[in-house]
């Protein structure tokens, strides 16, 4: 059931959607201890779009998985709407999880379900009736531009279409916080641009908060309100750059000097890492 959870905040003193304090994660392997992520402080307000960029291996996925309730931090706290996500013994607060939607780097669609059933799966898990969840899944398929493909199997879709189906699936529970791990990593530049515009439209329409991992600097600046730049070993936040251009943004934005200043400055800082 999609029962709305009671917000702990009252109007005026709005709690942030996501509050990350001193979060770290170590991995113990045969080779020794890896400090994948360390000392992350980040506060994200409702409706904000935050992009995480950084070199390969700097801990972006690790951080996102901790926010998504898939991996327990070894240090620090993560609060969703003022409520701690991780409880003792690495148990995750399931009421917080219901507010999240996760889009993985691979679409991870279930091959045995049609596109429609894949999108409707989270609703099925919540006990939404067949008729209602199918109707809502059809709406979502339409939203991500997959109408006409509802009955196809994932294997019959292109990579970009699969990724859109995965986004629709994540959106089906109307998540307040959308976590996306390089969702467009495998796409060509043109498809990617179109997907960026679609994502922006969807996010504005659904007023979700988004944490978006990417390798692509212009993509980060184009989509995000703030770009968080992380550096590796251990994964830390090096700087947070605002990119406050009015929304919705058009592709033309990418040719403006203001846009390119931010891109250039980020690229410069990324290059500076030894």
């Amino acid at each position: 059931m999609l029962t709305p959870t009671i917000e702990t905040s009252e109007a005026g003193t709005e709690t942030p959607r996501l509050e990350i304090k001193g979060v770290g994660r170590d991995f113990h392997t045969k080779a020794g201890v890896t400090h994948a992520v360390s000392g992350i402080d980040l506060t994200i307000q409702r409706g904000e779009f935050v992009a995480l960029i950084g070199r390969s291996g700097c801990g972006k996925t690790t951080l996102l998985r901790m926010i998504g309730g898939l991996l327990a931090p070894t240090a620090g706290t993560i609060e969703v709407d003022g409520k701690s996500l991780w409880r003792e013994n690495n148990h995750v607060d399931s009421s917080a999880i219901t507010k999240l939607g996760f889009v993985f780097q691979e679409s991870n669609l279930f091959p045995w379900f049609s596109v429609l059933d894949n999108i409707a799966l989270p609703l099925k898990l919540r006990g939404v009736g067949k008729k209602e969840r199918r109707a809502r899944a059809a709406d979502l398929a339409d939203l991500v531009g997959l109408s006409g493909f509802e009955r196809s199997y994932p294997r019959e879709l292109s990579g970009g279409m699969r990724q859109r189906a995965a986004i629709a699936r994540a959106l089906s529970t109307e998540p307040e916080l959308l976590l996306m791990d390089e969702p467009f990593g495998a796409l060509d530049a043109l498809t990617r641009e179109r997907m960026n515009l679609e994502l922006q439209r969807i996010v504005l329409e659904t007023t979700s908060t988004v944490v978006f991992v990417t390798h692509d600097i212009p993509e980060a600046v184009f989509l995000a309100d703030r770009v968080v730049h992380m550096t590796p070993r251990p994964g830390r936040i090096r700087q947070i750059l605002p990119a406050d251009f009015p929304k919705p943004r058009a592709v033309d934005l990418q040719t403006t000097p203001e846009f390119n200043d931010i891109v250039r400055s980020l690229r410069h800082d990324l290059d500076e890492e030894e």
Partner: protein
């Protein structure tokens, strides 16, 4: 003609041609070498025997008995294999502690147990069903076990991210992703179940096609024995095709089914 059309038609040309070739070669060898037809009958004699055989009521009774044994044994093997495979796949310590026993019972020549089964379960249907089920059980169980362990980590995380309960993960994910493995086990299992029933009939009792083979052999009727072997092979083929068809019906999304249907060459 497109390459994919070719690929579809190919078996329908090659298989009949090969069968004809073998029959002709058989005929030529038997007649030119002057082999005693009691020992190696020519195809025509086997064909006559087959026609006679199919005209006898007791043949069809025997077919009914053998198929019943196979189907009961196979069903038991599938249900037991599925349950044991899932339990062993999920409960690691149990699988680990039972592993030596599983390996031993898997490599043990189960056919050697038939005399014991006859002593325990009598000469009737039961002893054959038991052997049939026992032979088919292992491929089903081992494949299911592998299937339970082969669930993709990414899919697990999807279920986790949607707050799925253990029961939901089991039904929507684990049971689904083990299906191709179950069918792989069933395809091997149905063949072994057929072998189990026939061997059971060879060694005990006086019912079923296996028993007809034994009496044909006792009366030194090689042509009839051949005809019975052909009949048994046809039954085995039909049973296998039924399982294969079930697979196509239940897992149309899987590579083994989908890929074949959509080969582009």
């Amino acid at each position: 003609m497109s390459q994919s059309r070719m690929l579809k038609i190919l078996p329908w040309i090659v298989t009949p041609s090969l069968v004809v070739l073998i029959v002709v070669a058989w005929h030529v060898i038997v007649t030119t070498l002057n082999v005693n037809t009691f020992i190696f009958p020519p195809p025509a004699m086997v064909w006559d025997s087959l026609v006679t055989l199919l005209g006898e009521a007791r043949t069809w009774e025997a077919v009914g008995v053998t198929v019943t044994e196979v189907l009961i044994g196979f069903s038991i093997a599938v249900v037991a294999g599925l349950i044991v495979g899932v339990v062993l796949g999920k409960v690691h310590w149990l699988e680990l502690s039972l592993r030596p026993l599983i390996v031993i019972s898997q490599v043990a020549p189960k056919v050697a147990f038939v005399p014991l089964f006859v002593i325990w379960f009598g000469f009737g249907l039961t002893s054959k069903v038991v052997l049939s089920a026992l032979l088919a059980f292992f491929p089903v169980m081992l494949n299911v076990l592998l299937g339970v362990r082969s669930v993709e980590q990414g899919h697990r995380e999807v279920m986790q991210s949607f707050n799925a309960s253990r029961g939901q993960t089991f039904l929507q994910l684990e049971m689904r992703s083990l299906q191709p493995y179950l069918f792989a086990g069933m395809e091997v299992g149905i063949v072994l179940a057929t072998i189990g029933a026939i061997v059971g009939e060879y060694l005990g009792g006086n019912d079923g096609l296996g028993n007809l083979v034994v009496s044909a052999m006792n009366s030194l009727d090689a042509a009839r024995t051949f005809a019975l072997i052909i009949l048994l092979s046809l039954i085995g083929l039909v049973l296998y095709l039924i399982v294969n068809e079930a697979k196509r019906f239940f897992i149309p999304w899987h590579e083994s089914v989908y890929g074949l249907r959509n080969t582009t060459g």
